[in-house]
């Protein structure tokens, strides 16, 4: 039984050994560059599994520094380094610290970590060679010269030099830091050799932005994720993310990460506090990532992120339609509107703002004189204005955004609230009454038509009734001078009646009063205009002439050809009075001179 178990274990181990061999070709035991650090006393460099802390810096003739090493936060060792002979320290064969300089109480050092790491990647994949076959790469050429027993005879031409080698199955050889050959398998039966070539891999930095909001408020951090992906073929070390913003302040200017395996991602949280500005604007945040490969070659990438920062003043408008109470005795519309405007100040100082709201022309605000408010907003304060408005007419209405105006450093800034989406319907009753007459001039005995046009402009049926008062100067002839009935929503009804002129003169037709009752029993009246009517005396021809010439452009020309009497209304007494007064006036005027002469002569020559 034990033997069987042992056998099984052997099989399992054998199965897993092969892949280890294949990947071992691509890995190398090397000192992996972890990053370059400049640390002061008490500062630490965080590495994968290790922490290096500067305990003390002695600025003597030959400056020295005492470093402490922690493994997983557990103190392991303390040692002294300087920038001279003792500038390199290897801890436990795992960590190599190379001091570059110790100046101004700062120590600059590069840290390497010993590791077997993937270094090589396939250049030319596994290819079957037969004797005489050759294959060319970038700057090399491989030729299979022959196969002898289990050994392959290969000629490698590299950089103008020729190397002849014999390899067994699974052999590999590093010719330079940039080229390696791997004899994967020699098939003796088919006389084929499978060869692949390898080259050093490269990390590649890709930066993506995640969870960036559409806009940020003035008093909050611009916070988003920066995802760094190593799209290369070998790990990236000593990753340093630097965040810069001209219009704000990054919370963490630099962030570090020790290693990023190929295909792996690392998420960094970016936090930038934007500067306070009165207007909404975009700020650019530049994130640059740099990292190193195992040899210390630097790789970097940069990404600009545009973030929208809202103005420190915010305004929001909401409109809610409400039904009027059925007990509301007011005739007309059935809805009213609750309008709320919220104004906020996200700056860290007080601001005086003027909020203006424009209602549709048919609307009247309730209990307020104007829809303009001036208020002081303390730092971080938010105020809400609530008011009600109702429409004087039924129909469909849209609301305009509210406006806020404020001053900052002598400049005036204006901001509009959000657009109010949707169309608001106001149900109700509205009746338009128009009264017309067929002619405003008539002669006694003539007839004219009085036309009443009643339009129900609302969306509710209305019961209407009216009764026309006919004045004494006119007499009713025929037609609808009174009516009672229901007028459907959106319809127009016309009533016409005929009247006859009885007496001459100038009159105003009395206004028509229309009684309205809506579906809920609410009552109202609509009154028409008064219409002017001139009734002429049929016997007077002059007025006809007058009427005829009234509309002519050259009235004086017509008047000069007319030999008729001008004023027919003068009575006998008036005429006599006028004539007597005229005569007396003439007599007095003419008699002045002889009277004085008479008086003078009489006095002188008595």
């Amino acid at each position: 039984m034990r033997l069987i178990k042992l056998l099984l274990l052997t099989i399992i181990i054998t199965v897993f050994i092969n892949p280890v061999n294949s990947t071992a070709v691509k890995d190398e035991d090397i000192w992996i560059y972890q990053g370059s650090f400049e640390l002061g006393t008490g500062e630490r460099a965080y590495l994968e599994g290790y922490t290096v802390k500067v305990d003390e810096i002695d600025n003597a003739n030959v400056p020295t520094a005492t470093l402490l090493i922690y493994t997983n936060s557990v103190f392991m060792k303390s040692f002294e380094v300087d920038s001279g002979v003792n500038n390199e320290y290897i801890y436990d064969g795992e960590l190599k610290i190379c001091v570059e300089s110790i100046e101004n109480s700062k120590i600059s050092m590069e840290i390497y970590k010993h590791k077997s790491e993937l270094v090589w990647v396939t250049d030319i994949p596994k290819t079957a060679f037969k004797t005489g076959d050759s294959l060319s790469g970038n700057d090399y050429r491989i030729t299979l010269k022959g196969i002898d027993e289990r050994v392959a005879n290969v000629v490698v031409e590299l950089d103008g030099e020729e190397y002849e080698r014999t390899y067994n199955s699974g052999d590999y050889e590093k010719f330079t830091e940039d080229f390696m050959i791997n004899i994967v398998y020699i098939n003796k039966n088919t006389q084929e050799v499978f060869i692949e070539t390898l080259k050093p891999g490269e990390p590649q930095i890709q930066i993506d932005i995640g969870s960036l909001q559409e806009s940020y408020e003035q008093n909050e951090y611009v916070e988003y994720e920066l995802v760094v992906t190593n799209n290369g073929s070998i790990p990236l070390h000593g990753i340093i993310l630097t965040t810069e913003c001209d219009e704000g302040e990054a919370e963490l200017v630099t962030q570090q990460h020790s290693i990023l395996e190929p295909g792996k991602k690392k998420k960094f949280q970016i936090q930038v506090k934007p500067d306070a500005e009165p207007v909404t604007r975009d700020i650019t945040i530049t994130a640059s990532v740099e990292g190193y490969d195992y040899r210390g070659n630097e790789y970097n990438n940069e990404k600009d992120t545009e973030a929208t920062i809202n103005s420190y003043i915010s305004i929001e408008k909401n409109v809610i339609s409400r039904e009027k109470a059925s007990s509301d005795p007011e005739f007309g519309t059935e809805q009213y509107f609750q309008i709320s405007i919220t104004v906020g100040n996200k700056a860290d100082f007080q601001t005086v703002v003027t909020v203006t709201d424009v209602l549709p022309p048919e609307f009247i605000p309730d209990d307020i004189d104007s829809t303009e408010w001036t208020m002081a907003l303390a730092a971080g304060e938010t105020k809400t204005i609530n008011y009600f408005a109702s429409s004087t007419e039924p129909g469909d209405f849209t609301f305009e955004p509210a406006t806020v105006v404020w001053k900052d450093s002598g400049e005036t800034y204006t901001m509009q609230s959000n657009q109010i989406e949707g169309i608001f319907h106001v149900s109700g009753s509205r009746v338009i009454l128009q009264k017309e007459i067929s002619s405003s001039y008539m002669v006694v005995g003539e007839t004219i038509d009085v036309i009443l046009k009643v339009t129900n402009d609302g969306d509710r049926d209305i019961d209407i009734s009216f009764r026309e008062d006919i004045s004494d100067e006119l007499s009713y002839v025929s037609g609808d001078s009174e009516w009672k009935g229901t007028l459907k929503a959106g319809t127009t009804k016309e009533f016409t009646y005929t009247v006859k002129a009885e007496r001459a003169g100038e009159y105003y037709l009395p206004e028509t009063e229309l009684s309205l009752t809506d579906e809920d029993g609410r009552k109202d009246n609509v009154v028409s205009d008064e219409l002017f009517l001139y009734i002429d005396d049929e016997a007077t021809e002059i007025e006809e002439n007058y009427e005829d010439t009234y509309n002519q452009i050259d009235a004086s020309a017509t008047y000069s050809g007319d030999t008729s009497v001008a004023d027919p209304d003068i009575t006998r007494t008036e005429a006599i009075g006028f004539m007597v007064s005229s005569f007396a006036s003439l007599f007095v005027i003419i008699a002045i001179v002889p009277t004085f002469a008479y008086l003078f002569i009489s006095r002188v020559y008595k």
């Binding site: 004086s556 020309a557 008047y559 000069s560 007319d562 030999t563 008729s564 009497v565 001008a566 004023d567 003068i570 009575t571 006998r572 005429a575 006599i576 004539m579 007597v580 005229s582 005569f583 003439l586 007599f587 005027i589 003419i590 008699a591 002889p594 002469a597 008479y598 002569i601 020559y605």
Partner: protein
Amino acid sequence: MNFAAFIGSSMLFALFAIVVLFVLINMSSRLALIILLVIPIAFILVIPDISIAFLSIEQMSLANGLVPVNNFHILLMIWSTLIGVILYTEFLTWYLGKGKRMKNNPDGTMKVGVSATLDKSVYDAIGKARDLLNRKK
């Protein structure tokens, strides 16, 4: 301008003026003054519509239509003319009568009347004018 109305009106006004002047010369100036006023008023009293219509007839329009002239205006002109004639007739009659009375004054205190002085000055003026004319020759 209606010619028939013009001629008819002219005839009526002429007749009216002749009657008044006849009364003035042959009868009495005071009576003429009364007739001057009474006749038009009598017509208005008796036939008011026709009289007013007659007086309202526009005979002409002067100054390019700016000054319409009706029969009433013509009546006023006739009135003013005849009132002037009657008043000055009356005044001159009185004046001349007064001068005559003063000439015939038996106490001789006032030998030279106003008319004599006027006559003298008129004669003097005429004499001077004659002299001037003779000198020129």
